[in-house]
Symmetry: C2
Subunit: 152 residues, 2 copies
DNA sequence: CAACGTATGTCAGAATGCTGACATGAGTCA
DNA sequence: TGACTCATGTCAGCATTCTGACATACGTTG
């Protein structure tokens, strides 16, 4: 298990570290959500709907960082299992606003508490300053990656 | 778009922001690697081998944050296409040390340059201090998520 | 030495997410 | 009005990754 060697910029790469942190977060979330019979995307969808009722399939997809096709499959399962409802007819255009049912809200409560505890554990050793630094830095990274600063 | 926060407030959640940043990074990497006919995991594997020659399948899997089964599938493809080599017999135990071929090294060069440019873009608006802050903070998050501080 | 726990490589099947494609509805512009 | 562009919902097929399982090899412990 020696990792000596050749320059290893994996050890100093912020990109690699970001991926590692994200992977650790996802694994930790999966661990606490599995006993509740819920996947991370599953949870993300319900959480989005709790905070922004009436989101469409495409909006949910963007919020959960998956394609709208993937979200569509998930929504059909959630609808079949009674966690969300969508009108049979679109009130306007083709957009179907989705809402949580009482069952969905109940199911989300436990999951949300579990996820909050994971996030709290992640931030346990960070000061308030470090947390706000992290917030600002991550936002800058996202902004730059999206190319929002290329004017021409 | 009102966000009444009963659960995890997505607008202020560092977990959500971490996922967003990681997603943006992955998308940006996919964009530059696609013209080279290479996926992110594909690239990760080659980069790991370049920096730590002789890694085993399981070690590569841990380094790329996938299961060893997934990495095994990838390695078989890379071996078939002549990018890596593994001995037919394990020198010791069952561990098969993997190495890049000349072709694999060539293929990696372009990909590595492309990925470096993505990482540079991600960090473009950050000062040196912010970068070292990010490094330390991400490491703390990873450490805490892995539960390395729960002694009992 | 024998038993046990752990780590590895690998095969098979299932779950998950993606790309491609199509039809539909809304907005824009001439 | 008609043509064009764009976003949406959805179906189908494919790719990727995962979980489950098994045999094998090493280290430790009795």
């Amino acid at each position: 298990m020696s990792q000596e060697g050749v320059g290893v910029n994996l050890e100093t790469s912020l990109g690699y570290l970001l991926k590692e942190a994200s992977s650790a977060l996802r694994t930790a979330m999966e661990e606490v959500l599995r006993p509740l019979g819920m996947s991370v995307t599953h949870y993300s969808c319900l959480e989005l709907l709790a905070q922004r009722p009436g989101l469409s399939n495409s909006e949910l997809a963007r919020g959960a960082f998956v394609t709208r096709q993937t979200m569509n499959v998930l929504l059909q399962a959630l609808e079949r299992d009674g966690y969300v409802t969508r009108p049979a007819e679109a009130p306007v255009g083709k957009v179907l606003p989705t809402r949580l049912t009482a069952s969905g809200r109940r199911s989300l409560q436990k999951a949300s508490a579990a996820v909050r505890s994971v996030e709290a554990r992640m931030l346990a050793d960070l000061t308030a300053t470090e947390r706000s630094d992290a917030f600002r830095i991550l936002q800058s990274m996202i902004h730059s990656l999206h190319g929002d600063n290329e004017p021409a």
